[in-house]
């Protein structure tokens, strides 16, 4: 009720640009100092933390991969004992999937989606801060247990009964399950934020058919998270219940079932891989368009392909279970559905190729990574189609052939685009360019090293080498290739090292970038690099799919927003017609405390079920502190 207010509200109407900027930055900036940093809810700051954290986990996971490759370089090597090896491959897989690949994609969404849809902060920014602390603590839980030689040792999908109460003594499997709970929580939180940001906070005029493809891909990803993560939530909780309070979900002697775990896990686990891949597809679409110097070819088919992938993703899970003895006819249905997903994947590849063909490609580092992506992802996708065949998979399931498949799709299909995306958006995030020279070296070494490392694994698989073996016997014909792979991995690692050196160096002393170094078409380039706390001085009005390519005389913007409270525009779902001037919450330390309280409860419940009861009290307290209105201007209406 505006009447209640003492002071007349200050709007941006008629304000001079520099005065406006001063007011906005006063309203939106975090307070300085340590507590200010803990309390900030700026999506860019949080996204940057997320990204850095995820890359630290990539390095850690990568170092574990190096340890595995040393152990596997010779038959009967003694570098690692079996117990340590099992912890290592489990921690490598879990770190890469849950602490690197999924969070880094979410982090890119947290950074880019609000900027690309032209708003000032993500929806539910405090939830966003909460989600970061949660994933950080979840990651620490796993890695501290690894340092204490008590890391999970049951593989990244922790099949029961090996992970159950009888065969998985100690707390290792509980730590795995609880680490999963942490990552789920944070992923679900981010998914809700993305959905609401995209639905409700798009700049006026950004109707559905003008949403940038990256935002579409993130939206579909968020929906997959929302539908798939409850399954893993259920799985990890019931596993802990079985272990802690003796429920019988997975005990065949008491009416439970070992395969139930596999169904529930893969009902999440398959969609998980598209949670990782779809954002990458969005990045590729963006980079291809920018460096082909033309709008993407086949916008609508691409959006449809993303959505189709998202839907089909839920009908494939059994292809991870082809040899568990399910009825053959049912399995063949999952062969058909898995093959069917090649069609939307093909549409994507063909549209990108067509864009390149129609455009005038500029061979910058981001585009090189995208080209590398096309070469390798198609190999990985095709081996996916191979293992989708029941009889084919009967031979190669659980062998290095599958290891090759999923590294081709994960590294070639997701990490390559991600690295391209870092080169592409680094100037936006830091205000500085990365080095083209080092970028080319990094790309070359990573591309070459990757293929030399992982291509031979297909052959090892066909030669009968199972995965998850800590060693193999000298009389088996695998030693030569394994040594070759381990040496090639060094080339791969050296590429990564160059990438990290480049990133660190450029962060400090790269060439200043300016707002739009690539002459790109989407809204994030309409503001300064790095963007100010309030993102846009005035919220843009979108009149075309590539607003920066079609502007004639300056960027269309709105006026009339208040600048003395955190205010942004809420718009309608389909046409993005403005509906309200909504306020965005202020900084708050409560999400941090809520994350601490939640973590105490989750970690405590590894040891006693009572932690859930007593632990929920501090959680309730912190949540009330979080949501209780403080009577700021943001609370007015």
């Amino acid at each position: 009720m505006i009447e209640d207010r003492k002071r007349p509200p200050l709007t941006d109407d008629g304000l001079d640009d520099s005065v406006l900027e001063r007011h906005l930055s006063q309203t939106w900036s975090a307070s300085p100092g340590f507590w200010g940093a803990l309390a900030t809810v700026d999506h860019k700051v949080i996204a940057r933390r997320y990204i850095v954290t995820a890359f630290v986990f990539l390095i850690l996971g990568g170092l574990l991969a190096v340890a595995m490759r040393i152990q596997l370089a010779w038959p009967e090597a003694r570098f690692l004992d079996p117990d340590r090896y099992n912890q290592i491959f489990t921690t490598h897989g879990s770190t890469m999937m849950f602490l690197f690949a999924v969070p880094v994609m979410e982090a890119m969404a947290i950074y880019l989606v609000p900027l690309m849809v032209g708003t000032r902060n993500i929806a539910f920014p405090r939830l966003n801060a909460f989600s970061y602390w949660i994933i950080l603590i979840g990651g620490l839980l796993l890695w501290i247990s690894f340092a204490l030689d008590a890391a999970p040792d049951v593989g990244w999908f922790a099949y029961v009964p090996l992970s159950g109460p009888e065969y998985g003594p100690g707390k290792r499997a509980d730590i795995w399950a609880q680490m999963i709970t942490f990552t789920e929580l944070s992923a679900l939180a981010v998914a809700v934020e993305i959905v609401v940001t995209v639905f409700k906070q798009r700049a006026p005029g950004m109707s559905l058919d003008r949403i940038p493809l990256l935002v579409w891909s993130m939206l579909v990803m968020a929906f997959i998270v929302i539908m798939a993560m409850p399954a893993i939530m259920f799985a990890s909780s019931t596993l802990i219940l079985d272990r802690l309070v003796e429920t019988q979900f997975y005990n065949p002697a008491e009416g439970g079932d070992a395969l139930l775990w596999q169904h529930v896990f893969w009902f999440f686990g398959h969609p998980e891989v598209y949670i990782i891949f779809l954002p990458a597809a969005g990045m590729v679409s963006t980079i291809v368009a920018t460096f082909s110097r033309r709008p993407i070819f086949g916008y609508l088919p691409l959006v449809m392909a993303f959505i189709a992938t998202g839907i089909l993703a839920f009908g494939l899970w059994v292809h991870h279970m082809f040899v568990v003895g399910l009825p053959r006819l049912g399995e063949s249905f999952f062969t058909a559905s898995s093959m069917a997903i090649a069609v939307p994947a093909g549409i994507q590849i063909f549209c990108w190729l067509a864009t390149l063909w129609l455009g005038r490609p500029v061979f910058t580092t981001p585009l090189l990574f995208v080209i590398g992506f096309i070469v390798t992802f198609v190999i990985g996708g095709l081996t996916g189609v191979m293992v989708a065949s029941v009889p084919f998979d009967a031979q190669v399931h659980d062998t290095y052939f599958v290891v090759a498949h999923f590294h081709y799709v994960l590294v070639g299909g997701a990490v390559f685009p991600l690295l391209g995306a870092i080169y592409y958006w680094f100037p936006k995030m830091t205000g500085r360019m990365m080095s083209e020279t080092l970028g080319r070296w990094a790309f070359g070494l990573i591309f070459l090293g990757f293929n030399l490392t992982f291509f031979p694994m297909h052959i090892l698989g066909l030669q009968g080498m199972p995965r998850r073996v800590y060693t193999y016997q000298p009389e088996l014909p695998w030693a030569g290739l394994n040594l070759f792979i381990s040496l090639s991995a060094l080339v791969l690692v050296s590429g990564f090292v160059i990438f990290f050196i480049d990133a660190l160096r450029s962060w400090r002393s790269g060439k200043p970038a300016g707002p739009d170094p690539w002459s790109a078409g989407t809204l994030e380039w309409a503001t300064a690099s790095p963007p100010p706390a309030y993102n846009f001085r005035r919220i843009p009005v979108v009149e075309a799919r590539e607003p920066l390519w079609s502007r004639s005389e300056g960027l269309a913007v709105t006026k009339g927003l208040q600048v003395d409270r955190r205010e942004l525009i809420v718009s309608s779902v389909v046409e993005a017609l403005p509906e309200a001037r909504e306020s965005s919450p202020r900084d708050s330390i409560w999400p941090f405390w809520a994350a601490i309280a939640t973590s105490l409860m989750l970690i405590g419940s590894i040891f006693t079920p009572w932690a859930v009861v007593w632990g929920s009290i501090p959680i309730a307290v912190t949540l009330i502190g979080w949501f209780w209105p403080k009577g700021t201007v943001e609370d007015t209406s």
Partner: protein, 328 residues
Amino acid sequence: MKCNSILLLLAFLISGCSGAQSVLNANGHAAIALKELILAIVLVCSAVWFLVMIALVSALARRRIRESDAISERKATVVVSGAVGATVLVVSGLTIASFHTTRALSEAEDPELTIVVRAQQWWWQFTYVDPRSTETFVTANELHIPIGKDVRLRLESGDVIHSFWVPSLAGKQDLIPGRENILTLRAERPGVYRGQCAEFCGLQHSHMALFVIAEGVADYERWAEGQRRMSVDPSEAEAVAGKAVFMARQCAACHTIRGTGASGTTGPDLTHIGSRRTIAAGLLENTRGSLAAWIADPQKLKPGNNMPLVPLTSDELRQLAAYMEVLK
């Protein structure tokens, strides 16, 4: 350049894969059908990859002719639609081929022989079931089958999930506690085929191998006859002493030697251990030396396995190994 190296690798793949445990060294009815399918699918998919690469290179290297954007765009639409259509056709074809081969793998109607395979951490137990119950016998880690006959394996697990996989003979099949799976083997040629547990099952998953010995019917029958017999009574002094040690120490609590008082079931049946090629699930060749090494300290050779170190004097050790060796 990259294409060349991949071609080289492919050539290597086709020619250089005749290891003891290889998908491409197919000698079983099922494995041969699988190998044909695998090669066909790999071929089709490689062709698809090359086509995509040609498209990529031409998109990147294309000389930009000055035709109007509208014409190029229309061309691109036609090509992309065509490619999507072709994708539908190819994956439909692959699905049908796959389905066809799946049917060829279905269970045999009327198997010659039924063997119960029981997997446990980290070895294999084989029970040759005979309707005449006295003729049933148990052995471990070494499966003998007659060639040209359908052999039905009933797959069970004693603890966690394992997977039975002998790539030269057939695809893999999991062994799951609380469930029973069936796998049919038919070896077309005699030979010794290595297999290995393919589902991660804990510490010694890496050392859970087995051998399938496929032999002519007469040889097979001779072997089975030998297995049905009680264990031999040793005559040589050292072995006699070894038998006494075996019965006196914990060994008998875990192992069965038919015809003696030893009837434990935690470990492999040792009635005819001397006739097996390897010990401890393919870990070591079966010699007197390796037997002694194994018994002296199983935890050093296969860390974490379920046979404990039993303290023995070196004499006892020698005697035990001698006894094991005569149990042909």
